[in-house]
C-alpha cells in the first residue's frame, strides 16, 4: 500500500510534467481574453503535441494511452495554471457515443476537431417535465424524406449558445412504451429553428439554457443508433458522464475554507476554532473529505490495475453537495449578525460563503439529485430492487402526467 507510481507511471508522469512546464507558460502569449477562446487555445496546444484526449485512438486525435496515464496527466495538468472547461460534454460524453455509433467517416470528421478543441458540443437531453425521469421526454422527431423534423424544448443545456454541435434524444413514436419510442441524433447547433434562452439561477448566474426547436431539420445520416433505440444510445452517453468524486480539496466550501474563516472570527472573545462545537463540526467535514480523497485513491488504484471503477463513484457528488451547503450555512452563522451581508467589509471572505450558499442547492440537484444518487447506490451497488414502476409497459401517451 503506497502512494507511489510504478516505474512506468513515474516515467510517464515525468514526461507529462516536463511538457506541461515547458508549454503552460506559453499561454501568457495568447491574446484572447474570452475564457472559451483561451481554453480552445490551450486545447489546441495539447492536441498538436499529442496530449489531448489521451485515451482516444491516435487516428481520432488521441494518444492511445491507458486510463492511469490519462489520470496522471490530469493530475499534473491540475498543478499548472491553464484554462480548462468547455470540453467536458463534447469529449467526455458526445465523443464516446460517436465512437460507438457514428460511421467511420463521421468519426474521422468530428472526433479530431473535438480533440483539438475546435468544436464545442452540448447535450440536449433534459426537458422541463422530465427532471429525474429522463425518458419522459416529449420533444418530437418526425421523419420527412431524408431528414427528421424536430419540435419541442430542451432545458438545462450548458453552453448551448457557444456550442457548434449537440447530441440529442427525441421521441419518434409516442404510441409505444416510454423507453421504446426514442431516437438519438447529433446536430448542428446553428441549424435554423433553434432558439436559445439562458436560465437565471437563484444565485443570479446563468449557467444553463432552455433550447427551443421549431421545425429544425436533421439529416437521417446524423442519427446515432437505430430508430426507436435512442434509450440505449443515451445510456452509453450517460455511462460516460463523469461521476467525478469531488475531493473537497482546498476550495472555499471545504474543511480548509471553514477552518480559515473560523480562525479569523471570535465566539465569546476567543477564536471560533477553540469552540468545541465548531471543532466537532470541522472534524466531521475533515473526515468526510478525507474519506472521499482516499476513496478516489482506491479508484485510481483500481484503474492502475486495469479495473473499471463501478457506480460506487456516485458517493462523491452525494456527499460533497450536501456538505457544501452545510459548510456555507455554518460559515454564515459564524459571522453572526452580519452573516447575510455580501459586502467584503463585513468580514473575511466577504460575500463568498453567502454566494456559495445561494449556489449550493444546485449541487444537490444538477447531474442527478441526491435522491437519484441514493437510488443508484441502492439499486446498482447494493442490488436492491427498483421501486414499483407504473410507466414501463404502457404506451407513452397513456402514462399519467398530472397537470404538467
Amino acid at each position: 500500500m503506497d502512494f507511489n507510481d510504478t516505474q512506468q507511471e513515474a516515467d510517464f508522469r515525468q514526461e507529462a510534467r516536463r511538457w506541461l512546464e515547458e508549454n503552460a507558460p506559453k499561454m501568457a502569449d495568447v491574446k484572447a481574453t474570452d475564457p472559451i477562446e483561451r481554453a480552445q487555445a490551450w486545447q489546441m496546444m495539447k492536441y498538436q503535441a499529442g496530449w489531448a484526449c489521451l485515451r482516444w485512438p491516435k487516428e481520432y486525435g488521441g494518444r492511445g494511452a491507458s486510463a492511469v496515464e490519462s489520470s496522471i496527466f490530469s493530475e499534473e495538468e491540475g498543478r499548472v495554471s491553464v484554462p480548462v472547461g468547455a470540453f467536458t460534454i463534447g469529449q467526455g460524453m458526445a465523443a464516446p457515443t460517436m465512437m460507438q455509433y457514428a460511421s467511420e467517416e463521421q468519426k474521422k470528421q468530428y472526433l479530431p476537431r473535438l480533440a483539438s478543441g475546435e468544436d464545442i458540443w452540448c447535450q440536449l437531453f433534459s426537458e422541463p417535465a422530465g427532471g429525474s425521469d429522463l425518458a419522459a421526454l416529449t420533444t418530437r422527431s418526425v421523419r420527412d424524406g431524408d431528414d427528421w423534423v424536430i419540435n419541442g424544448q430542451k432545458i438545462w443545456t450548458s453552453g448551448a449558445h457557444y456550442s457548434d454541435y449537440g447530441i440529442m434524444v427525441t421521441r419518434s413514436d409516442p404510441t409505444v412504451p416510454k423507453h421504446k419510442g426514442l431516437t438519438y441524433f447529433f446536430l448542428d447547433m446553428k441549424s435554423a429553428g433553434i432558439e436559445i434562452k439562458p436560465i437565471k439561477q437563484i444565485s443570479g448566474d446563468s449557467n444553463f439554457n432552455e433550447v427551443y426547436f421549431t421545425d429544425v431539420r436533421i439529416p437521417d445520416s446524423q442519427r446515432l443508433g437505430k430508430v426507436g433505440e435512442g434509450w440505449a444510445v443515451s445510456m452509453t452517453t450517460l455511462m460516460n458522464e463523469r461521476a467525478a468524486i469531488a475531493g473537497g480539496g482546498p476550495g472555499l466550501l471545504s474543511f480548509e475554507g471553514a477552518y480559515a474563516l473560523a480562525s479569523e472570527l471570535q465566539i465569546d472573545d476567543a477564536p471560533a476554532t477553540q469552540d468545541r462545537a465548531v471543532r466537532n463540526q470541522l472534524a466531521d467535514w475533515y473526515c468526510k473529505e478525507s474519506g472521499l480523497k482516499y476513496t478516489f485513491a482506491r479508484t485510481q488504484s483500481a484503474l492502475s490495475r486495469g479495473d473499471t471503477p463501478g457506480p460506487e463513484n456516485s458517493i462523491g457528488k452525494l456527499v460533497s453537495a450536501k456538505k457544501s451547503q452545510e459548510i456555507a450555512s455554518f460559515c454564515i452563522d459564524l459571522m453572526e449578525m452580519v452573516g447575510a451581508s455580501l459586502s467584503p467589509e463585513a468580514g473575511p471572505y466577504g460575500g463568498q460563503f453567502q454566494n456559495a450558499y445561494m449556489g449550493s442547492p444546485g449541487g444537490r440537484i444538477a447531474g442527478g439529485s441526491d435522491e437519484i444518487m441514493m437510488n443508484i447506490i441502492a439499486e446498482r451497488v447494493l442490488g436492491l430492487p427498483q421501486d414499483i414502476r407504473v410507466d414501463k409497459e404502457v404506451p407513452f401517451n397513456e402514462i399519467p402526467t398530472g397537470n404538467k
Partner: protein, 371 residues
C-alpha cells in the same frame, strides 16, 4: 387550559391574511428584491394605516395598547408574505427598546410617531463578523457625540433613528441617534436578501441620547432581543410552513415515472419531517408568545426556545423546498429562493442558532440556580 389564540386574535389573523394577500403577495417582495427600492413604501403606509405599527404602544402614547399576542399574529402573517417593510426593526425592536428603556421624554417624542408609522426606528449593533460582545464594540460616545461604524443595520438606510450600541469608557450602553442629523453617513449594502434593506452607517460625532441606564446596554439589549426573538420566530415558522405548502403543492402536481413525486417515500418522509419541525416550532412559538404576553419569568428561556426551534424549522423547510422542486427550484423564476434568502437572513440577523442555543442553556442554568 386555553393554549391558543382567542377568537378576536384569530379574527385579526384573518384580516391580516386577507390584507396581505391583497397588498403583499409574493410578487411585492420580488419587486423589491429585483428593484432599486429599499422597501415597499406604499405597503408600509397601508400597514401603518391598519394600526399594526401601533399595536403594543400604550394609548397614552397614541398607540392601540393591545397585547403582545396581537403582535405575534401580525408577525406570523408578515413572515408568510415576506413583506418588504421595516416592521421588525421599527416595531419589534426600536419600539420595544423605547418601551423598555426610554425616559418619559423619549417616549413622548418617538412613540407617537412610531405608532403612526411616521418614524421608522432601527437597531445598530454589530461592527464586525463574529459574536457580539463588549470587546467587539469600538463605537464610542463621548460628551454626547457618537463616533463609529455599524454594519448590516437592518432598514438603516430608510430609518429615521437608530438605537445604537456603543461604549462610553468601558461601559456599553444603548443610545438614540437621529439618522437624519449631522455626522451620519449611510450606505445601502448588498445582502443575500435584497427584499429587506440593510445599511452600513458611519457616525462622526453624531448626537447620541442615552437610552436606559448607562452601562446597562447589553442587559437592555437582551430584553429587546428576547422580544424580537419571539416575533422573529413567528415570522420564521410561517415562512417554514409556506415552504412546506409550496413543496407539497409542487410534489402533488409534478409527475415522474408515471406518478406524482409526492407518492415517493423519500419525499413523503422528507415532508413529514418538515411538518414535524414546523409543529414543534409553532408550539414553542406559542410558549414564547404566552411568556411575552404575560411578561413571565420564563421569557428568556421561552424566547430562546422559540427562536432556536423556528430557525431550525425554517432552515430545513427552505432548503428542502428547493430540493423537492428539483431543477425548477433553483431557477430565479420560481419563488423558492425568496424563502431561502429570507430564512438565512432571519437566521443570523439577531444572532445565530448556535448563539441562541448557548443562551438557552445559560438561562436554564440561571433558572436552576435560582430554584
Amino acid at each position: 387550559m386555553n393554549f391558543e389564540f382567542s377568537s378576536e386574535q384569530n379574527l385579526l389573523r384573518d384580516q391580516a391574511k386577507s390584507f396581505l394577500a391583497d397588498k403583499s403577495p409574493l410578487r411585492v417582495a420580488r419587486q423589491v428584491l429585483e428593484g432599486e427600492s429599499s422597501h415597499d413604501a406604499e405597503l408600509w403606509r397601508s400597514i401603518a394605516a391598519m394600526g399594526w405599527t401601533a399595536t403594543t404602544i400604550p394609548e397614552k402614547y397614541h398607540g392601540l395598547g393591545l397585547g403582545q399576542l396581537e403582535l405575534c399574529v401580525i408577525a406570523e402573517e408578515l413572515g408568510r408574505a415576506l413583506s418588504p417593510v421595516p416592521f421588525s426593526s421599527s416595531v419589534y425592536m426600536a419600539t420595544e427598546a423605547l418601551l423598555l428603556g426610554g425616559s418619559e421624554a423619549q417616549k413622548e417624542a418617538l412613540l407617537g410617531k412610531l405608532a403612526q408609522g411616521e418614524a421608522i426606528g432601527c437597531m445598530a449593533l454589530a461592527e464586525q463578523a463574529g459574536s457580539l460582545s463588549p470587546n467587539s464594540i469600538q463605537s464610542t460616545v463621548s460628551t454626547g457625540k457618537l463616533t463609529g461604524t455599524k454594519l448590516m443595520v437592518a432598514d438603516g438606510d430608510l430609518a429615521d433613528f437608530a438605537v445604537v450600541l456603543a461604549k462610553s469608557g468601558d461601559d456599553c450602553s444603548l443610545y438614540l441617534v437621529d439618522l437624519n442629523g449631522d455626522g451620519v453617513e449611510r450606505e445601502t449594502v448588498a445582502t443575500m436578501d435584497p427584499s429587506r434593506s440593510h445599511a452600513r452607517i458611519s457616525f462622526t460625532a453624531a448626537e447620541a441620547d442615552l437610552l436606559g441606564t448607562a452601562g446597562d446596554g447589553f442587559q437592555l439589549l437582551a430584553g429587546v432581543l428576547d422580544h424580537a426573538a419571539v416575533l422573529y420566530a413567528f415570522e420564521q415558522v410561517a415562512g417554514a410552513e409556506a415552504c412546506l405548502d409550496m413543496a407539497k403543492e409542487y410534489a402533488l402536481q409534478r409527475y415522474a415515472f408515471g406518478r406524482p413525486i409526492a407518492s415517493y417515500q423519500a419525499l413523503k418522509h422528507r415532508m413529514a419531517q418538515m411538518y414535524v419541525a414546523c409543529v414543534l416550532a409553532r408550539s414553542n412559538c406559542y410558549y414564547g408568545a404566552w411568556a411575552l404576553s404575560t411578561r413571565a419569568a420564563e421569557l428568556p428561556v421561552a424566547a430562546a426556545t422559540a427562536r432556536v426551534s423556528a430557525t431550525q424549522a425554517f432552515k430545513m423547510c427552505a432548503e428542502e423546498n428547493i430540493q423537492i422542486h428539483g431543477g425548477m427550484g433553483f431557477t430565479w423564476e420560481f419563488d423558492c429562493h425568496l424563502y431561502y434568502r429570507r430564512h438565512k437572513l432571519l437566521a443570523v440577523n439577531i444572532g445565530s442558532e448556535s448563539f441562541w442555543k448557548d443562551r438557552l442553556i445559560t438561562r436554564i442554568e440561571a433558572q436552576k440556580a435560582a430554584a
